[in-house]
Amino acid sequence: MDYSQFGAMLPELIVLGIFLLVFLVDTFSGAAGKKILTPMTAVLTLLATVAIWIVPSCGEAVFGGMYVSDTATRAMKCILSVGFFLVVLQAHEWVESEVMAVRKGEFLELLLVTLFGMYLMISARHFLLFIIGLESASLPLAALVAFNKHKYESHEAAIKYILTAVFSSAILLMGLSFVYAFSGGSLYFNDIALSVTQGEMSGLLLVALAFVMAGLGFKLSLVPFHLWTADVYEGAPTSVTAYLSVLSKGAAAFAFFIIFVQCFGAVYSDAWEWMAYAVIIATITVGNLFAMRQKNMKRFMAFSSVSQAGYIVLGVMAGNGLGLTSMMFYIFVYVVSNLGAFAVISTIEDKTGKISMTDYNGLHVTNPWLSFAMTLAMFSLAGIPPFAGFFSKILIFTSVTSTGSMALYMLVLVALINTIISLYYYLLVVKAMWISADAPKVESFKSSRCMKVSLSLCVLGIVFFGLVSPIYDWLYNAVLTSFPNALAFVLQ
């Protein structure tokens, strides 16, 4: 065996290295060592991001094609580790609190394992490896959701999460077993793509596709596989919620694209076009309709993220390099916008324990900077120009309409109408903070330094990503290098 193949797995190895380092420090160092645990992890992830970005990818496909490390997957991993960095910074204060005294190492280790899993999900080109990635990204999350062990809601959320996760894995595996049967005994993406191109359309493949979509839909919380989302988001510690809402989703969306476009692209119009169509419309609409009536900020963000997932998956419908690029850009913008919002929510929850939308009334009087950041995050999520969210929406819409299909124009139209609905509830938060005449319920406080850094980075991202950043071009080049004929339509 050629061990140099492990060189291609640099991102995973780095994450594994960080994991081991955290483990060792956590086990053997005293109180002083434990103090630097979070900052150390944050800094290391940041360095890892840079390393993944600049070290050239060696070897396209390794281990017989099970694993691929190209520029596109590396770019995606960078986006995820930036998100990871922001989440760890935001979690710092909560991790340092007394409740967490003996378990802060565990928190970081579990988090790192899920990141490792996500990296595998992105790079896997064989369903077995993919399942391993998926599970190691899912199962530790159940433990993380239950991390507030003195809180009843946290347990309930964890149980709901694990039950649904198990169920969805079962469905997914069942689907994959049908795929295995269809492809004549191979789980390699390439083989499956080949057999899908050559083979006859059959009921077997149909069910398989539906089940695979349902299984991935769970991770992405697409409707109707999203029902766990609100309860879990509400019960989980806020930092974990933030993590769930952006990173899990981002990795799953990328995998969704690769699986459906690379493996099943040939049967797009035969088999899964209308499935995805229905799921996207349902996701965007139902997410919006529920988000409208939420009073709890975490539940609110849960439904908002359901709806955002619908927009992310729109990129799959474009099915070409443009779609993948705009999807990755959307995810990146979504990472900064959503984490910006979660930073505000979690710092307010940590300091005052307040989590209801009415608690935000008159926030600008006591905490003008937090209100400002939250407003920008809401504007970006709603897609108001000139913030990043506007550009990411525009790009994803144009990538979908560039295929020229009438049905997809209608899909974009539905998405646009839903943007208007989403404006309503995002602005509800803004209204509560700035316009509501009630006396402010949250007293004035100072956020911790880590939180400030994380929030400032998010705000910078929201303001500059769309207007003056080369990020879209970087991503586009990365995608183009990985898929040289990326502009050609894969889907027929």
């Binding site: 149980i159 709901k160 039950l163 649904t164 169920f167 969805s168 469905i171 359309m201 009921g203 149909l206 069910v207 596709l209 539906a210 089940f211 979509m213 349902a214 839909g217 769970f218 409707v223 109707p224 596989f225 029902l227 766990w228 609100a230 309860d231 035969d270 088999a271 899964w272 076009e273 209308w274 499935m275 229905a278 799921v279 139902v286 309709l289 529920f290 409208m292 009536r293 609905i421 309503y424």
Partner: protein
């Protein structure tokens, strides 16, 4: 030609605007003032060098065989809409742009200097200088535009700076409404301008002036004879473009903003509303002159509008009390004079006329001399207002003893505008009248009458300010001449007004670059001079010492005087049209539609969304078994959807 100087000419004022605009609050008045004056002084020097190089260097870029050429110093692509429609930004040197560079920077520099004294005690002094710089930048960009779209961009920028400066005293409601009025009226006119530009460029596929004007026949044929409502589309385009000029140059019926614009600081009135911005319309017509020449209908339109406006404004100026209003109407009248002069010009020889482009040359000549003496008059008015703290001549009278410098310079200005030899106005006006008589005796006679009226109202103003009867208030508050910063520009401009007539203007500025030797048309000169002298004598009789003759004249036909004093009710007509017809009938019905149809539809959609949201809330039961059932049903439904689509 090296592009450094032209770029600096544009870059210095905008840099000054940014420096003073951003850093102004941190500077003392002195620093800001000196910076502004130095910046403008440097720009003026550079502009003089460029203009001098253009006219006198003999460089083959600029002149070949005695014919002056149009030269684009640079012209870079700025916005490419289509393969053909490309907006460039550039710097065009030709006789009129070089002349305008001199006029703008000279007056602007003098106004900068003058304002140092005039605005000394006003709050927002630094902001004022920033706006002046912005205006200078915009105006310079306008005159050197290589294409009509660049001109349009800077056209709007001068509009904005004019708006900012008229409303400079933003705590005065009258200044605020005047600035809004100026902006809205000119914007309406500019809408026509833009449409005209789009029509013209749609057919000709170019914005560039040289492309448009070098071959006007091609422009004429490019439309392929298309017509709209009885007139050819080219006529429409050129008339619409002229509409923009009508707005900026305050031609009837879009003149209403200019008198109100006098609410701005007086130096601003001198710079923007007398010497530079308001002649932009004339400049525009001169720029597009060859194209206008092939569209006879548009030329006739220009002549008619100009002739009516000139007469109207001259009549109104006879019945104003506010000295700045008199000057404002005088400006309108004089600009209209230039318009008529351009309107009667030809680009091809006509029988019996020795030089067909005379009207063009004369119009540009008058633009130059008028800029100088009108700025002088406005700055003189500023000195007067500075001394007596009122805009009305009723608060003045007998000031010649108290303010000798202002008196003499103002007198020179009046003589120049009245067209008395050897002051500059005589020469330019004589050429214009000669061109008009050459075209048709009617234009000549009509405009000679306007010239007589001009002499009359200017000397009426002069006598009422400096003679008539000494105002009793002077005992408490003795008026005196202004400080040196203000007197110096007055003296300089007075000198220019004395000698500018002797500039061999025809050698420098003609429409086709071929020099023309000016000679005085004796019959025309004699007529206009005698008309002017008679008018001045009449004014002397009526206003030199206090008497009841003016009251008698006024009572002879009081309704006429009242109507002229109220500017023939144009503002009232606009008020009626806007408030009663547009707001009352059109807007109200649109508002009804908006409220009861559009809003109601939106409310209905919101209601539907709300009901939908309410009806599906049962899905989120909190029961994990139910979630899993939904999950499974969803997966089955997905397969079902595809199944249905396939079958």
């Amino acid at each position: 030609m090296d592009i450094t100087l032209p770029i600096l000419i544009l870059a210095l004022p905008i840099a000054m605007f940014l420096i003073l605009g951003i850093g102004g609050v941190k500077m003392s008045r002195k620093v800001a003032g000196v910076l502004g004056i130095l910046g403008m002084g440097t720009t003026a020097t550079l502009a003089y060098i460029v203009a001098f190089t253009y006219f006198f260097s003999g460089n083959p870029d600029f002149i070949i065989d005695g014919v002056r050429l149009q030269y684009q110093v640079f012209d870079v692509t700025w916005l490419a809409f289509t393969q053909k429609l490309i907006v460039n930004i550039g710097f065009l040197l030709d006789p009129i742009s070089a002349m305008m560079l001199v006029v703008i920077t000279t007056i602007s520099f003098l106004v900068h200097l003058y304002s140092w004294g005039y605005m000394e005690h006003e709050p927002g002094f630094q902001r004022y200088y920033a706006f002046l710089s912005l205006f200078s930048f915009s105006m310079l960009g306008l005159v050197v535009a290589t294409n009509i779209f660049q001109m349009y961009i800077f056209w709007e920028l001068v509009g904005v700076s004019s708006y900012l400066l008229i409303g400079f005293f933003y705590k005065l409601p009258s200044a605020v409404s005047a600035s809004k009025k100026a902006f809205i009226v000119t914007r309406f006119a500019d809408l026509g301008f833009l449409i005209g530009i789009l029509i013209l460029s749609y057919y000709t596929d170019t914005f560039n002036f040289i492309n448009l004007t070098s071959n006007p026949e091609a422009v004429l044929t490019s439309t392929g004879g298309a017509t709209f409502m009885g007139a050819s589309v080219l006529t429409w385009a050129m008339v619409l473009i002229f509409t923009g000029g009508m707005g900026k140059s305050a031609m009837m019926p879009l003149h209403i903003w200019l008198p109100d614009a006098m609410e701005g600081p007086t130096p601003v009135s001198a710079l923007i509303h007398a010497a530079t911005m308001v002649v932009a319309g004339v400049y525009l017509v001169a720029r597009m002159f060859p194209v206008y020449c092939v569209v006879d209908a548009a030329m006739t339109f220009i002549c008619v509008v100009g002739a009516i406006t000139a007469f109207y404004a001259a009549v109104v100026a006879c019945a104003q009390i506010d000295i700045k209003r008199v000057l404002a109407f005088s400006t309108i009248s004089q600009i209209a004079f230039m318009m008529v002069s351009l309107g009667v010009a030809y680009d091809r020889p006509i029988e019996g006329v020795h030089y067909a482009g005379l009207g063009y040359m004369a119009g540009m000549f008058h633009l130059f001399t008028h800029a100088m003496f009108k700025a002088l008059l406005f700055l003189g008015a500023g000195a007067l207002i500075h001394a007596v703290h009122s805009n009305n001549y009723t608060a003045m009278g007998g000031l010649r003893k108290y303010m000798p410098i202002t008196h003499w310079t103002f007198l020179i200005g009046c003589l120049a505008i009245a067209g008395i030899w050897p002051f500059s106005g005589f020469f330019s006006k004589d050429e214009m009248l000669a061109a008009m008589f050459a075209r048709h005796w009617f234009w000549g006679a009509w405009m000679t009458m306007v010239a007589g009226l001009t002499a009359f109202y200017m000397f009426r103003l002069y006598y009422l300010i400096f003679w008539w009867e000494e105002n009793p208030h002077y005992k408490e508050h003795k008026p005196h001449d202004a400080p040196w910063q203000m007197s110096l520009p007055l003296i300089f401009l007075a000198l220019v007004s004395c000698v500018a007539g002797f500039i061999p203007f025809g050698e420098l500025v003609t429409w086709d670059g071929v020099p023309y030797h000016i000679h005085i048309e004796l019959p025309v000169a004699a007529t206009s001079l005698s008309v002017a002298v008679i008018a001045i004598l009449l004014a002397t009789k009526m206003y030199r010492v206090k008497n009841d003759l003016p009251t008698k004249v006024k009572n002879f036909w009081p309704t006429l005087w009242e109507a002229a004093h109220r500017r023939f009710y144009w503002d009232e007509i606009y008020q009626f049209v806007v408030h009663k017809i547009i707001f009352g009938i059109i807007c109200r019905s649109i508002a009804w539609f908006d409220r009861h149809v559009i809003d109601a539809t939106m409310d209905g959609m919101a209601k539907v969304t709300n009901v939908a949201s309410n009806s599906i809330k049962g899905m989120q039961s909190g029961n994990v078994q139910a979630y899993v059932i939904w999950f499974f049903l969803g997966a089955v439904a997905l397969a079902g959807i595809t199944w249905l689509c396939l079958v």
